[in-house]
């Protein structure tokens, strides 16, 4: 390293130390809402790097210009924090990643990191692919991983077709994730990780996460949870000991519906049986700087700032959406034409007990409205009809205000029929394995007044 490069490295060390001090002494001591509003964007960051702008600027630029060859060398060798090229990193994207890492790490003593991706699906690939490698002594061994079967149709597709059929990597499906013995029976020396989506879309599967985390760690492998539906406002798996969390940031984290994005959040020093010290030490930074740089599924800086804006009100939004959903779920559960409502908040839901153990509105005890811990169950529900698929379609076609769209997590209420949309690609057999009947309607209640949504549901139901 020449003297010029050395200078940049020294300067960067000071900067990094100052940032770490700020995060540890200030940001990590804040409540959830304060972190959601500010993230790691400090007054100093604004004044020293962003002309005093109180809102994080949108760095709509492909590249970073360097002062001289020394700075460029230091940056490209990852010796100093730099962004270089927006496929690799970008200041605006960095602000979003800071906030996401801090929110999923809220209540966790250690350090979390985040790597954003162009979509939830690329976030999943970013999180799982580094474990599905054939390296070192494990060149020729078969590879498998274990996942609950009730998951989003896109994830199912990625696992069953892209990994299993095309790459010969076995995905071992768990049909009852609350049976810890089923998980245990699927793990062997070639198992690379455990994967769980909860609450699952659209079936609202929930299970005892802690048992699965302990099981994975006993076997020296990591757990990856997709908690898109809950968001960190209700569930933060890393605080329970999980290694990695993924989100389709497109959903409630970007409730306004302004685009597609994904994120991987990981704690430092994950548990893994892969021989890769860099990856083990700081998974999020590792995938960001190496595999994701090469795969190229980066997010747009514009998207990053739009998402950041949505996240600032995440906690109160999740509270409102959950309460509205509860009101609507109660209405549906009493309706004569509905055979079954799946909403984790309903007391008669078979998984209500286990869900209530984990789904808590963050900081409710510090909220003067509540002053104590409060369960909240998110805004995803699904339901079926006494008269089957014909009734489901008739109801669906008569919705007036609730949008018919393959979407969820919106500030606007949206409904879909998964068997003909989000989970159509799975085929009938796999749908029945994942418990997605033909007459299942998925509903995600938004921030409208619930009375108006109930009126719309009522009139649509009257057409059956």
């Amino acid at each position: 390293m020449n003297e010029g490069v050395q200078k940049y490295v020294e300067k960067a060390k000071k900067m990094v130390a100052e940032r770490e001090r700020y995060l540890k002494e200030q940001v990590k001591k804040w409540k959830f809402d304060t972190i959601a509003v500010h993230g790691a964007y400090s007054v100093e960051e604004a004044i020293n790097n962003n002309q005093g702008s109180i809102i994080e600027p949108i760095y709509m630029s492909t590249s970073q210009a360097f002062r001289d060859s020394d700075e460029m060398e230091a940056a490209l060798a990852y010796l100093i924090p730099a962004w270089t090229y927006s496929r690799i990193h970008n200041p605006s994207i960095g602000y979003l990643e800071d906030t996401l890492a801090l929110l999923d790490g809220y209540g966790f003593d250690g350090i979390t990191g985040c790597c954003t991706a162009s979509s939830g699906m690329s976030a999943i690939a970013s999180a799982v692919d580094p474990f599905l490698v054939r390296i070192g002594s494990r060149q020729n061994e078969p590879i498998n991983f274990v996942s609950n079967a009730q998951i989003y149709g896109g994830t199912f597709q990625q696992f069953s077709i892209r990994k299993m059929r095309e790459r010969g990597i076995e995905c071992r499906w768990i049909s009852d994730p609350n049976d810890i013995n089923e998980w245990a029976s699927k793990i062997d020396k070639n198992t690379r990780f455990l994967f769980g989506e909860l609450p699952s879309n659209p079936g609202l599967m929930f299970f005892d996460m802690k048992a699965v985390i302990d099981l994975a760690h006993e076997n020296g492998i990591p757990v990856i949870f997709d908690t898109t539906i809950a968001t960190p406002a209700l569930l933060r798996p890393i605080t329970l000991g999980a290694d990695i969390v993924i989100h389709s940031v497109t959903k409630t984290l970007t409730a306004s519906g302004f685009g597609i994005a994904g994120a991987v959040i990981a704690r430092k020093n994950i548990v893994t049986n892969i021989e890769n010290d860099e990856m083990k030490a700081d998974f999020a930074t590792y995938i960001k700087l190496l595999p994701n740089r090469d795969m190229g599924w980066c997010i747009s800086p514009m998207q990053a700032i739009m998402t950041l804006n949505d996240i600032r009100t995440l906690r109160s939004k999740m509270d409102l959406l959950s309460r509205n959903s509860m009101t609507v779920a109660e209405f549906l559960s009493e309706h004569a034409k509905i055979s079954q409502v799946n909403y984790l908040g309903l007391k008669d839901h078979p998984l209500h007990g286990v869900a209530s153990k984990y789904l808590w509105l963050v900081d409710a005890e510090h909220d003067e409205q509540y002053g104590k811990s409060v369960n909240r169950y998110g805004h995803l529900m699904s339901f079926q009809f006494k008269n089957g698929v014909q009734a489901a379609r008739r109801f669906f076609d008569n919705l007036q205000r609730i949008w018919r769209a393959t979407d969820l997590g919106r500030i606007k209420s949206v409904a879909t029929i998964p068997s003909i949309s989000t989970h159509q690609q799975m085929g009938e057999d796999l749908r029945s394995m994942a418990s997605i009947p033909e007459d299942l309607v998925r509903l995600c209640i938004g921030a409208e007044h619930p009375d108006d949504m109930i009126k719309d549901l009522e009139q649509a139901l009257s057409h059956i």
Binding site: V43, A46, I47, N48, N49, N50, Q51, G52, S53, I54, I55, P57, I58, Y59, M60, S61, T62, S63, Q64, A65, F66, R67, W83, P91, S92, M302, I305
Partner: protein, 388 residues
Amino acid sequence: MHIETDVVHGGQHPDKWTGALSPPIYQTSTFVFRDADHGARLFKGEEKGHIYTRISNPTIELLAKKIAFLESTDAGLIFASGLAAIYNVVVNLVDSGSNVISDDTIYGGTFTLFKNVLPKTGIKVVFVDASDPLQVTSAINEQTKLIFIETPANPTLKMIDIAKCAEIAQKRNIPLCVDNTFATPYLQKPVELGADIVVHSATKYFGGHGDIIGGVAVGRQSFIEKLWKDAKDIGACISPFNAWLILRGLKTLAVRMERHCANAQKIAEFLAGHDKVEKVYYPGLRSHPGYDVAKRQMWGAGGMIGFDVKGGKPAGKVLMNSVALCTLAVSLGDVDTLIEHPASMTHSGYSEAELKETGINPGFVRISVGLEHVDDLIDDLKQALARI
């Protein structure tokens, strides 16, 4: 440097804070102070810095610098629209009881501002035919505080000799403001011809893609500082995002204008030879009364064409309803070709007599020639004209 280089690099450097090659979008309403004294110094103007986006913003400031550079002058301000820019310039220079001398052929929106809005503030607008210098000279009196022209003018492409107007204005020490929207600095630099202030609707060729509304005023540093003092209180500010889109549009101004001009020249020549066309208004045709002025002060004739179809209003309407590629829309300077027939569209409420008064022939059609292949545009006009 050549204009092609200037539009790409002029007035712009990698962001000094982060090295970003393309400038960041400072989509923020407000800016933080280091401490109370810092805030006080900023407000007193003792230290340069940003306070609030209505007052100044890094993205918007960068755009102003760039356009000032392209127009060969010192400084500029960016506004919510072209009309907001004109309004700010006029009320800054002309007080109640004083007057503006304006050419009588100007954009309809400007005309309405001058005729209906400004008189309410006690500002009088005297309309003259500025292509006749004598009319300008004789209209000037003690209360004249500004001379305003637009050249080429919307919609008849009337040409005004900027240098001659500047000479008259300078003699009487009155500032000359030129609306350079149609020409852009790619074709004409009014400041180099003696103008003091240049205004633009940035919505047109600067943005170039039909996605933003914005306006510009540029001129000497002392004037822009004076203009800013009022402008920050009037509050006709632009969004930083729009400013950023204009910055992006400007980079391709030269290549776009080159094609706009080449396409327009061919279409004007085609129309001039068509038996259903009465008259073509295009400064690139020898038949245009402003041809010589255009040759003198512009490097090309621009992308706007006016023409009269034979058969008046009904014929114009048939043409509008027959074009398939040209888009029926107001605005101009977009990548798409936009066509408009005032008698049946923007001015459809006017009687024939009223139309005559505004100088718009019933068969008058305006085309903003886009960047499509010119043969496709000519084919479209050909088939549409055939239906008349």
